[in-house]
C-alpha cells in the first residue's frame, strides 16, 4: 500500500506569511500521512487549518484521524482551535499520549482553548477528541506500527516513526541534535550523531526533520532546541535514509535563504560520498512513497 505525505505547515516558531516566504510557506508545523484509509496528523500548528478545510472538501464520510504531537510549544498546537473538522459531530480524533494514561497531549490541546486564550471552549467542539495511548512509546494503528523517541528540546519533545509494509516515514522535529555532539564546529566529516537517533531513522523512506538553522544562525541560538540543517543531514546519512525533507524553517529565512540552506546540505551529501536525497519541505507539497 502506498503512503502519501503532505506538508501543510513547515515553518518553525511563528507563522510567517508574506512575499519572502511564499514558496516554502509560512504556516507552522502540520503534516498529513495517509496510509490506505488511515489518516495520521503530526502536529497542529497553523498548517492544520488548511488541512481541515481540505479534509472537509474531500471526505464524503465522517473524518477519523490519529494525531501525534511532537510537543506542545505554540507552533505545534496553535492551529488546533481552527481545525474545522473538530467542530463536526461526526469527527473522531484520537490524540496519542506516549504510554497508558498519558493524557498530556489531549489536555494541552484542550487547555489552550480556555477562555483566557480562546473564545470557544473545548467542550463546544462538536467532534470527539479522544485521548489515546501508545504502550511504552510503541503502538499499532491497524497494520501501521508506531514508535516514539524522546528528543533533545527544552521541555522535551518526541519523534514518531510510522511503518507499514516495510515502508517507513519518520517525523523528527524540534530536536537539537547538536547538543549531543562533543563539540560544535564546521567540518567535512560525518558528525557523531547519537546512535539511538540513528537507529530510529535507520532505512526510513522519508525523514521529515527539523533543520532550522544554518551554521551561523545556530551559533547564536545554542540551547534553543533546534538543529543545524547540516547535522540533520549527517543523521540521515548515518541512518541510510532515502529522502530527507528538511523542515521547521527559521522564521527569518526567506525562500532564497532556505534554498541556500538546502544547497549547503546537498553539497555536504556529495562531499561525504552519500546519496541521500535532500530537499526543503514546502507547504502544499505531497510525496508518495511506493
Amino acid at each position: 500500500m502506498r503512503i502519501f505525505v503532505k506538508f501543510w505547515g513547515v515553518r518553525g516558531s511563528i507563522p510567517t506569511p508574506g512575499p519572502s516566504t511564499r514558496r516554502y510557506g509560512g504556516n507552522t508545523s502540520c503534516y498529513e500521512i495517509r496510509i490506505g484509509d488511515i489518516l495520521i496528523i503530526c502536529d497542529a500548528g497553523t498548517g492544520i487549518r488548511p488541512l481541515g478545510l481540505d479534509l472537509l472538501k474531500r471526505s464524503p464520510n465522517a473524518i477519523e484521524g490519529h494525531m501525534f504531537l511532537s510537543h506542545a510549544h505554540w507552533d505545534h498546537i496553535q492551529g488546533f482551535p481552527f481545525f474545522l473538522p473538530a467542530y463536526e459531530e461526526s469527527t473522531k480524533l484520537f490524540v496519542y499520549g506516549l504510554s497508558t494514561g498519558d493524557d498530556r497531549p489531549h489536555d494541552l490541546l484542550s487547555g489552550q482553548m480556555q477562555t483566557d486564550y480562546f473564545p470557544v471552549s473545548f467542550r463546544d467542539l462538536g467532534g470527539q477528541v479522544i485521548p489515546s495511548y501508545l504502550e511504552n512509546f510503541q503502538g499499532q494503528i491497524g497494520d501501521i506500527k508506531v514508535r516514539a523517541l524522546e528528543q533533545i528540546h527544552p521541555g522535551a519533545s518526541h519523534a514518531y516513526s510510522f511503518e507499514h509494509d516495510e515502508r517507513r516515514v519518520v517525523y523528527m522535529t524540534d530536536n537539537e541534535i547538536d547538543q549531543a555532539l562533543p563539540e560544535i564546529k564546521e567540518d567535512d566529516e560525518l558528525r557523531p550523531v547519537p546512535p539511538q537517533m540513528v537507529d530510529f531513522v535507520q532505512g526510513a523512506d522519508l525523514l521529515i526533520a527539523d533543520g532550522q538553522y544554518t551554521e551561523d544562525e545556530y551559533l547564536k541560538k545554542v540551547g534553543w532546541g533546534h538543529a543545524r540543517a547540516t547535522t540533520v543531514t549527517d543523521l540521515a546519512i548515518a541512518g541510510n535514509v532515502k529522502r530527507l525533507a528538511i523542515t521547521h524553517h527559521d522564521p527569518m529565512q526567506s525562500d532564497q535563504e532556505v534554498d541556500a540552506k538546502i544547497a549547503v546540505c546537498r553539497e555536504r551529501v556529495k562531499k561525504l560520498g552519500a546519496n541521500v536525497e535532500v530537499f526543503g519541505a514546502r507547504e502544499g507539497l505531497e510525496i508518495r512513497i511506493g
Partner: protein, 142 residues
C-alpha cells in the same frame, strides 16, 4: 386575472455607459484639500501559462484557459506533447479555490517540482515542472 407583467414594474430604460476613462482626470481629495490622480483601471486578467523550455517542440507556450487540464503524450490529453518520456496522461493541472495545483497521474517517469519528485503540489509563479525530458515553467497569470 391578467398575469402580472414584469415590464410594467420596470423603470424607463436609460442608455447605459461603461465607465472606462481613457485618460486620468484630476479628482478632489476632500480629506486633505489636495488633488490626487484617480486609481488606474485594473489590469486585464491574464490566464496562467506553461512555458516549455526543453523537450520536443520547445520553446513553446501553452496558455491555460481551463480549470482542469491533462498534459501527456496521448492525443486525448488537453495538452499533447509528443515525447516518449511522457505517459499518455502524465500530469493534471487544476485550479482549486483560485490556487493552481499539479498532480502526477501515476506516470512512469514521475513529476518533479523544482527537482523534487512530487505526487502533487501547489504551484507558484516560476516553478519548474519536469516530466521526463520535458521541462516547463509555470507562469501564474493574474
Amino acid at each position: 386575472m391578467i398575469p402580472d407583467d414584469p415590464k410594467s414594474h420596470a423603470l424607463p430604460e436609460e442608455p447605459t455607459e461603461e465607465f472606462l476613462p481613457d485618460e486620468p482626470t484630476e479628482v478632489a481629495d476632500l480629506t486633505v484639500g489636495r488633488t490626487v490622480e484617480p486609481l488606474a483601471p485594473a489590469p486585464p486578467i491574464e490566464p496562467c501559462k506553461l512555458e516549455q523550455i526543453r523537450g520536443p517542440g520547445a520553446p513553446k507556450t501553452f496558455v491555460i484557459r481551463s480549470e482542469d487540464v491533462i498534459i501527456g503524450r496521448s492525443s486525448t490529453a488537453d495538452i499533447q506533447i509528443e515525447c516518449a518520456d511522457l505517459s499518455r496522461h502524465h500530469m493534471r493541472l487544476k485550479i482549486i479555490d483560485g490556487v493552481h495545483h499539479c498532480e502526477d497521474k501515476d506516470s512512469k517517469n514521475g513529476l518533479y517540482l523544482n527537482g523534487v519528485r512530487a505526487h502533487s503540489a501547489t504551484l507558484i509563479d516560476g516553478d519548474l515542472i519536469q516530466l521526463g525530458e520535458v521541462l516547463l515553467i509555470f507562469r501564474a497569470g493574474r
